[in-house]
């Protein structure tokens, strides 16, 4: 097995780079009396940290801008070809000329090696890796090797096209510029890499504020640079309904903020394909039975009429509930409407999972309603959670009958609803800063889980908040977790609820902080040695400079600068 570099070896490496200055990403202390902690990483250090990597001090020079050439034994694969186009000289060198440095072997291209018989993947969408294929689904081995005295090549061995994409991203991060010169280098190196978890996501909320499509594309791009593989799209909510349904066009016609602030099904499809090219799944969330207030504008009969004045349906009650709230579980119309809507959604989405929400179902409206009381008597229900369960189970069965796999927030479990064990739960609750009991509860009940509790990036605070994200580990935070339970953890997601985020601040707010979460979910558990968080700061800073270099306006994590200069440009609209 290749050795992992210890800090002391890194220091040795640093000293061995005879001509390198480390000004491509530079941090400065907060004050003279508080020196910076951690060890700066050499340029060309990838993020997230690979499972195992061995960097030699031998380096090869990049001959010119056209030296990054790709070959593969898998021909005519659209996903690979599109990746070869993306990892272009413009991405890696921007507009800089590239000059060969004399006295070094010259880099002579990159070769992708894939098993035969996987051609069909080129037309597919990425999916949640099955348990038996997790060791290979996104795995790659990257060797930058000296072929002869004068040439060096890179070889990426992968088992799927998705693994090849991850390898290409790592390869692109290994190339570094020597200070102010136009010389670019790559170290002779061997990397064996595979993610710790198969589900590494980011959730956007396009209901509180609309997010225009170029911004979503920018996010997908930056996600691929950070090895995240799921975009969880919380597309509608109480505030607005920007998804244009062909079945029920009134939903967005009356529920979108403005007619322009919508997503046509074709646009959703484009985003799904844009994500697929980068090995990213798109999971659509249509949240019910709560968070549905927007339906009142087009289909008010879907919502439960509340009796705020105790007499009349459709009257609100101060501090308790609105006039109409929560889908009405007593009416067949609700179920038939949802079946039609989700039939359409199933056709739009390409992922096997649909996120069904199910969070924050408040009972006060139901409690006010004589119809709900009658419904409970008729069904012998004594608890409102049974009403919630009634809806939840019918809705889950319906969605399963459409051939989709349901993913839901863990609220129903917390409310004592009996769910099938094949439902995947997303754990988001926290009690203060304590979230581990919620995760442990879901695992004790035997559910597969996706963790989000410690990773709500919308809760901004002053300072180095990424450290807490980085040090929140789904396994190490649970003292009583069993080995079998560890296997139930599919991964995690960072979330940004958009009350205070929109295209003016969203990308900056997420990147590079989400990198901390991406490394937690990708890299081996051994990276979580708290002493290494300080080292991680330097690598994360380097990653943020790399994101800036690629046109992603990632915010700074500490005092300092990127060289040659900060590029906070936003990619122009592709519309």
């Amino acid at each position: 097995m290749p050795l992992k570099l210890e800090p002391i070896q890194l220091a040795f490496l640093v000293c061995s780079f005879f001509i390198v200055d480390f000004s491509d990403a530079y941090l400065a202390p907060i004050a003279a009396r508080l020196p910076l902690k951690g060890t700066p990483s050499p340029p060309g250090t990838p993020w997230p940290e690979p499972m195992s990597a061995n960097f030699s001090i031998s380096i090869a020079t990049i001959g010119n801008r056209d030296s990054i050439t790709f070959t593969s034994n898998l021909n005519n694969c659209s996903i690979l070809n599109s990746a070869f186009n993306r990892y272009s000289p413009d991405l890696i060198f921007r507009d800089l000329p590239v000059e060969s440095a004399s006295g070094y072997p010259v880099f002579a291209g990159i070769e992708i090696i894939l098993p035969s018989g996987i051609e069909n993947q080129c037309g597919e969408y990425p999916r949640l890796a099955l348990e038996e294929e997790r060791d290979t689904y996104e795995k790659y081995e990257l060797r930058v090797e000296q072929d002869s005295d004068s040439t060096v090549t890179a070889k990426i061995q992968a088992w799927t096209v998705w693994g090849a994409l991850r390898g290409l991203e790592t390869f692109s991060q290994l190339i570094w510029q020597n200070g102010t010169s136009n010389n670019f280098f790559i170290n002779i190196s061997q990397i064996v890499d595979s993610p710790r978890y198969p589900h590494r996501g980011f959730m956007i909320d396009t209901a509180r504020h609309y997010v225009d499509i170029p911004v979503i594309e920018t996010i997908l791009e930056a996600m691929s640079y950070t090895k995240l593989n799921v975009l969880h799209w919380h597309i509608v909510d109480d505030q607005s309904f920007p998804f244009v349904s062909k079945t029920f066009p009134e939903l967005s016609a009356k529920g979108a903020y403005l007619p322009e602030l919508t997503y046509e099904p074709e646009e959703v499809q484009d985003i799904i394909n844009y994500a697929r090219d980068r090995g990213i799944r798109v999971i659509l969330e249509f949240d019910t039975p709560g968070h549905t207030h927007v339906y009142r504008k087009s289909f008010p009969q879907l919502l439960t009429p509340c009796y705020g004045d105790g007499v009349n349906p459709g009257t609100p009650s101060p501090d308790k509930h609105a006039a109409y709230e929560i889908l009405d579980p007593t009416k067949e119309f609700t179920y038939s409407f949802m079946k039609q809507l989700f039939t359409e959604i199933k056709n739009v989405t390409k992922d096997e999972f649909i996120h069904l929400g199910m969070d924050e179902v408040y009972y006060s409206c139901w409690q006010s309603s004589p119809e709900i009381t009658a419904f409970m008597e008729q069904n012998n229900y004594t608890e409102y959670s049974q009403v919630q369960e009634h809806y939840t189970l019918r809705h889950l069965d319906m969605v399963k009958s459409l051939g989709a796999k349901p993913l839901i927030w863990h609220d129903p479990l917390e409310f004592g609803v009996n769910l099938d064990k094949d439902i995947v739960l997303q754990v988001w609750k926290k009690n203060g800063s304590d979230w581990a009991p919620y995760l442990q509860h879901a695992l004790d009940e035997g559910y597969q889980v996706i963790l989000s509790s410690p990773w709500y990036l919308n809760y901004i605070a002053y300072g180095e908040t990424w450290r807490e994200y980085y040090e929140s580990d789904p396994v190490l935070s649970l003292p009583n977790i069993t080995e079998d339970q560890e296997k139930l953890i599919l991964g995690g997601e960072a979330c940004v609820w958009a009350e205070y985020a929109d295209p003016t601040n969203l990308v900056q707010r997420v990147f590079p902080y989400i990198g901390a979460i991406a490394e937690r979910l990708w890299s081996p558990i051994s990276t979580l040695d708290k002493n290494r968080t300080d080292d991680a700061m330097h690598r994360l800073d380097q990653h943020r400079c790399r994101l800036l270099w690629r046109g992603i306006p990632a915010q700074p994590i500490f005092n300092g600068y990127c060289f040659p200069q900060e590029k906070s440009i936003r990619r122009s609209s592709k519309k």
Binding site: D238, Y257, A323, D359, Y500, P556, N559
Partner: protein, 566 residues
């Protein structure tokens, strides 16, 4: 997880009875109660209400006039100058942006045929000309006692069918033009740009209204500095407090001592402000009626000065009594340092034309001085017993030097200077920034008779989740016990954006529109404090500036502007 705030739901009841909610989407209703509707946009924007709120505004019977942008002209009466002409061009293009960004909304071709406003009983004609009456010749440089008052009349009695902007200085004309374009708003049916008939008499409550940017923790590009100056003008700020250097880097490129930025900038070619850059910023600010007050903070916050000027910083000593290779504040025992300070600040006051220079003087830590046998010897020689006296000694020498220049210059110091007992001259200004015992400190400083600036509750680099602007809005520089004379010593102040976690990638969105709250506190009458009124106007103001192309984050929770930032 999604903050369906129950307490808010109660309001829906009232509203449901009054409104058909499905018709609220475009939010063109001025009703104050509409803002309570949730979920959905948290606040519906006001229409044609200026930010900061003018001192006096009269409206007349819901009557409106229509602006036809292709026809509309400014007409200058009496005095004008390059600055005024430049502003007229700028504001005309802002009017065009208001129109084009309201499209498809304001369709001029349709408007021509579909003059729906003609049937509006409030319609009082077209406002095709705004007369701009500057009553005195232009002043060239903005200064501490510039007159920013102005008056606007739109179709008022005796002025039917016309508009007039009057001011006795060009600074008032600049502020009035900003207010004028903020009065414009699209009609309900988007067929036109409207303005309500109005009388406005306006002037600032405080004369010093500043925004501090720190270009040392992170370098900020010229583009960002200019964008920020634009936004300052849109909010009637009049001082750019440029905290240009600090411990982390020294981007100021000095004429006399170029080694300071060669060795102290993050990068000596790309991360510096050249003399030409600085002149450009000063001119850009001048045209917008904004002073540039530079801050060169000493004797602490000077790590980045050290490499270029050997002997400037105090060497710190280890326990064995040997220099440990680290350095503390400027070394006041070295007489040569005062020669350097004299020479360097002489350059600075010639580069920055404003009368005031900010000398810093904050956060001097004594650990290094305490370690140094040289400082100990110096203290013994000077009969000092307290390290604060060493600091006082340095600051006294510094202010004496700055007072000695032939230029009629004065200075601003952070509060520590006064807290430590330094005597500064009477037209010096003390800047209160600490957020502890604020009223006591304000009482103390003003009781000593010093002119005072206030920034304590406006450190906008400190962020937190949710609606934080109410805190900034509630805070008042004159909220302390003192005589009227003491209150009058408060010149103003403003927000600070220290850049530990901020650079060109996120600074504009993080600063704006949060900095609009201190702007209103500093400009408008002290009684302008109604937060639900402010919320609606802030929503309009944010969307208005978004339409002008600036990256302002949402201040109020869920909602939309119709035109998103791109």
């Amino acid at each position: 997880m999604k903050f369906l705030i129950k307490s808010a739901l109660l309001h829906i009841l009232v509203l449901l009875l009054v409104y058909n909610l499905s018709n609220c989407v475009n939010g063109h209703d001025d009703s104050v109660t509409r803002q309570l509707q949730r979920p959905g946009p948290q606040y519906y924007p006001s229409r044609g209400e200026p930010w900061p709120k003018p001192q006096l505004r009269n409206l007349y019977n819901d009557s409106i006039m229509i602006i036809r942008p292709p026809i509309f002209r400014f007409k200058v009466l009496r005095y004008t100058c390059d600055m005024v002409e430049d502003a007229l061009k700028r504001y005309y293009s802002i009017i065009l942006k208001t129109v084009s960004h309201s499209a498809p909304i304001v369709n001029l071709a349709n408007a021509k045929h579909n003059k729906s406003w003609k049937s509006d009983p409030g319609f009082k004609g077209y406002l095709d000309v705004l007369q701009v009456d500057l009553m005195a010749p232009c002043e060239s440089m903005p200064h501490e006692s510039m007159d920013e008052a102005y008056e606007i009349k739109i179709g008022t009695s005796g002025f039917e069918g016309t508009g007039l902007l009057t001011a006795s200085s060009n600074w008032g004309i600049l502020r009035g033009l900003e207010t004028f374009v903020q009065l414009l708003y699209p009609a309900d049916d988007f067929s036109s740009i409207q303005i309500k008939t109005t009388l406005i008499l306006d002037y600032p409550r405080f004369s010093y209204r500043s925004v501090l940017l720190d270009t040392s923790r992170h370098f900020l590009s010229m583009k960002i500095l200019k964008q920020n100056l634009d936004l300052m003008a849109f909010n009637k700020y009049n001082v750019f407090h440029w905290h240009i250097v600090d411990d982390q880097s020294f981007p100021y490129q000095s004429r006399k001592f170029p080694q300071l930025s060669d060795k102290g900038a993050y990068q000596p070619y790309t991360h510096v402000y050249t003399q030409q850059n600085i002149a450009e910023i000063i001119e850009y600010a001048r045209l917008r009626g904004i002073r540039v007050v530079a801050e060169f903070d000493t004797p602490g916050h000077t790590q980045a000065w050290g490499p270029a000027i050997p002997g400037l910083l105090t060497p710190c000593y280890n326990k064995e009594g040997q220099p440990d290779g680290t350095f503390g504040p400027i070394d006041p025992t070295n007489e040569k340092n005062f020669e350097f300070i004299h020479s360097f600040f002489e350059e600075v006051v010639s580069v920055f034309p404003d009368k005031y220079l900010h000398l810093g003087g904050d956060e001097v830590y004594y650990d290094c001085w305490k370690s140094s046998p040289l400082i100990a010897a110096f203290m013994a020689q000077q009969n000092m017993t307290d390290y604060a006296e060493v600091e006082q000694y340095y600051m006294q020498r510094l202010v004496n030097i700055v007072q000695s220049y032939p230029k009629n210059s004065s200075y601003i110091v952070w509060q520590e200077t006064i807290d430590n007992g330094v005597q500064v001259k009477k037209d010096a200004i003390v800047h209160v920034w600490k957020n502890v015992n604020v009223p006591q400190e304000m009482s103390h400083v003003t009781s000593l008779g010093y002119k005072t600036l206030f920034s304590s509750c406006w450190y906008l680099n400190k962020i937190s989740y949710g609606i934080d602007w109410t805190t900034y809005y509630d805070c008042d520089p004159q909220n302390f016990n003192g005589t009227n004379a003491q209150k009058r010593l408060v010149l103003g102040g403003g927000p600070a954006m220290w850049t530990e976690y901020v650079d060109s990638a996120n600074i504009i969105a993080r600063l704006w529109p949060r900095a609009s709250l201190p702007a209103e506190r500093l400009w408008s009458d002290a009684n302008v404090r109604n937060k639900s009124d402010a919320a609606r106007r802030l929503e309009e103001h944010r969307c208005r500036l978004l339409k002008r192309g600036y990256q302002l984050q949402p201040p109020n929770g869920p909602g939309f502007c119709g035109v998103e930032w791109d």
